[in-house]
């Protein structure tokens, strides 16, 4: 297969940001060119959609990958069937799922199947994507093997073109790395002020995001339009990482560590649709899924300023009574220990 590759390293220098600070941004950098990145990591620059057109992949495969890209960047086309909030995959995985420090999705294609702490069994790529639908999209996943699932998987795997399977080095830019621990404990009031100063012009003071003429523009950081309580980004450290590495849009790492943690704490102290793993009791749910998940979210905790218990409701958002079929599905129960 021939893919038209651009030079691996693209460097932007002298970008003046925010309040006149100057930094060097490397989008797909070799780690050694980034003073803050450890050496000896797997650096992968995924192909672009232009590379796809120029490649010699089978025309039918190209069609399916294009469909996967389209689903990834306009997941709202599945609204009401698989998606019951205002999000697209690319709302969180910026740059079409390619960009480092924005949870680039090709990493899943070369590290799965693997054991996943969140559901305590070995997951493959489709099951991982199904998890995103159940939690981040507050939805019901397309069936395993369906056209949508195959197209999304194909897009993920194609993005990983050339990267080694089960790499023996850590992956550069994987996930949403959290900023350093802040000097002061994350604080609701400070977070609210920082949110209003840095975020609300797009995401609105009430966190509802923004639709223009019925079309989605800015995603909702909380509320019914947003991810539910079981989504990874409901964990404060993940939200802090997303914010620090990616926001405001176009200005990565422009906020202070403290601002990123405070804003994450504030956003994740707001309500969102119920966790689909809800047992009917928030304290019980928080305890059961504490070790694997909710110990790092604020779910079930009492908000200090108004006494509200977060997640103590049976609002599942637009999804209503639809149940994601993949949540709680047991796997590999009959395998022996040896």
């Amino acid at each position: 297969m021939i893919i038209c590759r651009r030079s691996l390293v693209i460097t932007l220098t002298g970008c003046s940001l925010g309040f006149g600070t100057v930094y060097t941004a490397t989008v797909f950098a070799q780690p050694e060119e980034r003073p803050d990145a450890a050496l000896n990591m797997l650096v992968h620059e995924p192909p672009t959609m232009e590379d796809l057109e120029n490649s010699e992949l089978h025309p039918e495969l190209k069609k399916v990958i294009r469909y996967g890209h389209d689903l990834f960047t306009n997941t709202q086309q599945l609204r009401g069937e698989n998606v019951f909030n205002d999000m697209n995959c690319s709302s969180c995985h910026l740059g079409e799922g390619r960009v480092p420090f924005s949870a680039p999705v090709w990493a899943a294609a070369i590290t799965l199947p693997d054991f996943r702490g969140k559901n305590q069994h070995v997951n493959n790529l489709e099951e991982r994507i199904a998890g995103c639908f159940a939690y981040s999209m507050n939805g019901v996943p397309p069936e395993y093997g369906s056209d949508e699932m195959l197209a999304l998987s194909a897009y993920h795997q194609w993005l990983a073109t050339g990267a080694p399977m089960y790499p023996d080095k850590p992956i550069y830019g994987r996930g949403f790395p959290a900023p350093d621990e802040p000097a002061e404990e994350p604080d609701y009031a400070r977070g609210e002020a920082a949110y209003q100063q840095n975020c609300s012009i797009c995401h609105q003071n009430d966190g509802s995001g923004h639709y223009e003429n019925g079309e989605y523009v800015f995603p909702a950081p909380w509320g019914d339009g947003s991810n539910n309580w079981g989504a990874g980004i409901a964990r404060v450290e993940t939200m802090a990482g997303f914010i620090y590495q990616n926001m405001p849009l176009g200005q990565p790492r422009s906020l202070s560590d403290q601002d990123a943690w405070d804003i994450a704490y504030y956003i994740n102290s707001q309500e969102r649709p119920q966790d689909p793993r809800y047992t009917g009791d928030v304290a019980e749910t928080a305890e059961r899924f504490g070790p694997t998940f909710h110990n790092r979210s604020l779910y079930g905790q009492t908000r200090e300023h108004d006494g509200h218990v977060l997640g103590d409701h049976d609002n599942f958002g637009e999804k209503g009574d639809h149940k994601p079929w993949n949540v709680g599905m047991p796997r590999f129960e009959n395998l022996s220990e040896e």
Binding site: R6, I10, L12, G14, C15, S16, L17, G18, A25, V27, F28, E45, T48, M49, T73, L94, G95, E96, R98, V99, N198, I201, C202, Q204, N205, D206, S208, H210, Y211, E212, N213, G214, E215, V217, F218, P248, L249, G250, Q251, P252, E318
Partner: protein, 221 residues
């Protein structure tokens, strides 16, 4: 637009009016027409402005968001946006007149953008790519991620750029790139403009000049 979105959009308008403060002063289009007499020499009676190759292009105002126009006029007066011609005219308007002319122009139907017709296919393709998908290898986010699908503008903060004149768009992006313009909120435009090459700027300017700026315009084409 479904009902939920409609009500949400209504709510947003409500919020923006409350939070817009002085900028949300209620304008009157009829009074605006009278106050706009001095504007028409450049911006034209139909608000279409003019693309001026090798000179200073005059932006289309017709159909732009009223609060956006008002903010720009206030910024010219306050020195937060620099333009030798505009500061003179903006200074002639008081706060009420600013609200009135802004309302007047916002109600006009969007007129066609000029200056993109001679762009070649490759330049337009690059423009479309930047507009719709960006170029993340250079950390250039898509224009539509803030200016909205089709680049027709989002709320009062992110102006419609589709069907704007190529000469005006490129002059503004170049001004941001060279730090001659900085009245955008939180440097959202400035950060991106600085990563755009001159060719990128020409490309998006030509692309948006050739795009419909409203549904009515799209239907007419």
């Amino acid at each position: 637009m479904n009902k939920k979105c409609l009500s949400r959009f209504g709510l947003l308008i409500g919020i923006s009016i409350v939070t817009g403060g002085a900028l949300a002063q209620q304008g009157d289009a009829e009074r605006g027409q009278a106050a706009a007499a001095t504007c028409t020499a450049c911006h034209q009676a139909d608000g279409s402005g003019m693309n001026v190759p090798n000179g200073e292009s005059w932006p289309r105002l017709a159909g732009l968001n009223a609060d956006y126009i008002a903010k720009q006029l206030h910024d010219f007066k306050a020195g937060q946006r620099q333009n030798a011609t505009m500061v003179t005219f903006a200074n002639m308007l008081d706060d009420q007149q600013i609200a009135d002319v802004a309302e007047y122009y916002s109600q006009m139907p969007v007129t066609p953008g000029q200056g993109g017709d001679e762009a070649d296919e490759a330049l337009l393709a690059r423009g479309q790519q930047l507009a719709e998908r960006g170029d993340w290898n250079a950390y250039i986010v898509s224009c539509q991620s803030c200016h909205g699908p089709g680049g027709t503008g989002v709320g009062s903060t992110f102006p419609g750029v589709a069907s704007q004149h190529a000469g005006y768009i490129s002059a503004q992006l170049t001004a941001w790139k060279n730090e001659m313009r900085s009245n955008d909120p939180q440097n959202l435009m400035g950060a991106i403009a600085k990563r755009m090459s001159d060719n990128d700027i020409q490309a998006v300017s030509a692309w948006y000049a050739t795009q419909p700026g409203s549904e009515e315009q799209e239907t007419a084409q």
